[in-house]
Amino acid sequence: MARRTSLPVTFVVPTIAILLVLSMVPTLYAIVIALQNRELSTPDYSWVWLSNFADLFLDRRFLNAVWVSVKWEIVTVVATMVVAIGLGVLMFEVAGPRLRNLHCLLFIIPVLLPRVSAAFVWKFAYHPLYGIATYPYRLVTGGLIFDPLSKPGTALFAVASVDVWQWGLFFAVIVLKLLETLPPQPIEAARLDHAKRWQIHAYVTLPMLKAPLISLMFVKMIESLRSFDLIYVMTRGGPGVATETLDMYAFSQGFIESGKVSYASAMAVLMMIATVITFTMLWKRVQA
């Protein structure tokens, strides 16, 4: 459709201009703030250039937050993909059309919930005395107390389980739909060669879906960066700093504990640089 019309210009230019302003102004300003020493309590500030960044690398709590964020990213992405592929293949194998439709509907529900709601639902469920999720443990052990959210060893996994509850089930639906789009001939051929069910999936269907599955993982990696709501409601970074991710630490530095906006912004800028570089590189590889 190579028609001469003003439409592309009038439709695209204003929108992209607005997006550029809305995104570049805060991004550049974040860098400006990070080079100053602003605090919430006072309007005065001066330029300190890179000293916020230098301080960060000596801050053990910051280094801990980096490590917690990396752990969070790995745990949630891997668990989500395992749950999604497991349940997706299972639905493909054993469920008829009606059961599939029902499960597709049920599995989308958790991801639609506000993160705050999901966090509350599970915070109640994990309550050591009255929670529904800890009830089986109390029943089996005759009333022993298990408090997953207040143990440093389990807190991160307890919060991550909520993330996987939301995304793993949702992605299972997508994996099923992807399997349904595959042509049936290769599966039939493998079956004629007496391949076992799991072999068909491990060697035929999943390799055929490699590209969309990698894209799916890419989406999950981006969404996993948004862990703040869950952690804020469920543990506030605790116990101690066991679940303190970078955004949680930046928030508490900037707003709860000391109001060091510039310090928090320096952290945010580092996060931004790291994610933009990582995801741009990954995206180019996925596309290639």
Binding site: L22, S23, V25, L105, I108, L113, V121, V233, G254, T280
Partner: protein, 270 residues
């Protein structure tokens, strides 16, 4: 039935149960008196009460939060539709050498950590005197809605058969009326899914709203999270009721969004 199939079905049943039960349990707790919630053995049989729900709906903070959420999300989605859909159509139908870059730019906005956007915006809004107001929140959310609607609407417009639009051109329609009278109506169902998705996204948004509001512009997720910060002394039934209230609007879109998902994958097949 082979045992493997039976086990598989059992696992699926458990997963389906796990998907909805925690939410149903929360809804049930919203109808309980505190004595029926704080029990070591969970109670299924109890005398229901409307007190929690009535209390929640009577609180000024909750009603203000609800109003703020509706206005902020509604306006941001409207802006997203007005600016995002035409841009998506142009990228889909009049691709030029920047089309790929535009798509990547729109996607890359999703890489930005929300903290990195929220901190400078807070300082900016403070300086221009718009901190803790709905306009500030609406403008900030527009960044989210425009980019998400664009990202999802580009493939939706691409899937409209070109022949229909060509036929309209032959009939003497201009480029703009082809967009209005042909592309928009034909793609309407997928576009509705994209719009619904952007609404759910901003309705559920928490971190930016938390940082950009202190009292007047608090949205419902913030109000709900504050109820819990009063410690465990707050009657649990009330908390559960507020969670249910917060969760209902996104669930209203369940049908639209699952239809959207189906249509996305049906297109891939053909």
């Amino acid at each position: 039935m082979r045992p493997g199939r039976l086990i598989g079905k059992a696992i699926l049943a458990v997963a389906g149960f796990l998907a909805v039960f925690p939410l149903l349990w929360t809804a049930l707790n919203a109808l309980k008196n505190n004595v029926d919630i704080i029990t070591r053995v969970p109670r299924l049989v109890f005398t229901p009460t409307w007190a929690n729900i009535i209390y929640i709906l009577g609180r000024d903070s909750v009603l203000t939060g609800l109003y703020n959420s509706v206005v902020a999300c509604g306006s941001a989605v409207l802006i997203g539709v007005v600016l995002g859909l035409p841009a998506a159509y142009a990228v889909a139908r009049y691709p030029n050498r920047w089309a790929g870059d535009i798509q990547f730019f729109v996607l890359s906005l999703r890489f930005l950590p929300p903290v990195a956007v929220a901190i400078p915006l807070m300082v900016i809004w403070l300086q221009v005197g718009l901190y803790d107001t709905l306009p500030a929140l609406i403008i900030t959310y527009s960044l989210l809605t425009i980019s998400v609607i664009m990202w999802l609407a580009i493939p939706a417009f691409q899937s409209v058969p070109k022949e229909i639009e060509e036929a309209a051109f032959v009939d003497g329609y201009g480029a703009y009326s082809v967009f209005w009278r042909i592309a928009l109506p034909v793609a309407a169902r997928s576009l509705a899914g994209a719009v619904a998705f952007s609404f759910v996204l901003v309705w559920n948004e928490f971190l930016i709203a938390l940082m950009l509001s202190s009292s007047n512009a608090k949205t419902l997720p913030i109000v709900a999270s504050e109820l819990s910060q009063q410690g465990m002394n707050v009657p649990w039934g009330i908390l559960n009721a507020s969670v249910v209230l917060l969760s209902l609007p996104p669930l209203l879109f369940l049908g639209v969004l699952s239809g959207f998902l189906n249509s996305v994958f049906r297109q891939k097949k053909t």
